[in-house]
Symmetry: C2
Subunit: 171 residues, 2 copies
């Protein structure tokens, strides 16, 4: 079962930026990483007028564009998939899944918190919180705290906890 | 096994336009259609700067964006997948797959041909050719000919041949 770790936090706190740093660092270490972003609304992808875009607009429920180096797929959904459903249906051949969002699901979570934003923490009562990345004014008692600018330390933690249980990097 | 039909023809002959008409017509008839477009080169999808784009750029080998109504996935590939591999790995819950391109594969093919372009036919020696859509100066002897502007007739043919073998539209 591919492990899932979710990067959570309030809006505009820097979740995507931290996720980028983690992905870059894990890739440098030889791991294959998948990411999942939750979007509460309808999102746009692909470029208007391109053939693949035209296929979907014409009414295809699922549209694939495939090249020797990359494949993309857009499909209609009738419900909001859980991370476990996404893992089961769509994700293969990676060592770990890092999600942005999905704060309501029961997967291990790392909360991004920056004091300068003067807001409440998101996961104060969440037993799935495994770390904080940032600078909370009230440092966490039960979970480790990591510096947002030192993703290597956070990745040491992720690697020890999720990536060294019996397999080598798949590079 | 989900049936596959490929729309083939020389470049700029109107493959995408015919595919759009077929998809619209089959959807109107209550079928769920998937499409596959082959791209020989690297293609761009997603919009620069968006979170999902940033995930992929950071080095994710696979990136998903998921909403209640739509899911998109972009993944690196180490080879050009066949239509059968794409069907096996990525396509679920549809009645038929219509591909644009894949002329070298052994799936039933419909060639788009327009006389005004003054070019050779593509599939003169292809036993998988099942129909021509267009106006060849030398009408085919072995396969039916359909008018590009009457997609309903072509869809009657597709429906009779691929979609009525024991199941109802999945609408």
């Amino acid at each position: 079962m591919i492990p899932i770790v979710s990067i959570v936090g309030k809006s505009d706190v820097g979740k995507t930026t931290l996720l980028e740093k983690i992905v870059r660092e894990l890739r440098t270490r030889g791991y294959r990483v998948a990411t999942v972003k939750h979007d509460a609304h309808s999102f746009e992808i692909d470029h208007e007028g391109k053939d693949s875009w035209r296929h979907k607009q014409a009414g295809a429920v699922l549209s694939v564009i495939s090249s020797p180096s990359k494949l993309a797929l857009v499909t209609d959904m009738d419900h909001d998939l859980t991370l476990a459903e996404i893992r089961e249906e769509f994700i293969r051949g990676v060592d770990i899944i890092i999600s942005e969002g999905y704060k309501r699901e029961d997967h291990p979570k790392i909360e991004v918190y920056r004091r300068e934003l003067r807001r409440e923490r998101l996961c104060t009562e969440d037993e799935h919180l495994i770390a904080i990345a940032g600078d909370p004014s009230d440092p966490p008692k039960d979970v480790p705290l990591f510096d947002l600018d030192r993703p290597g330390e956070l990745c040491d933690f992720i690697e020890a906890r999720f990536l060294r249980k019996g397999h080598e990097p798949s590079s």
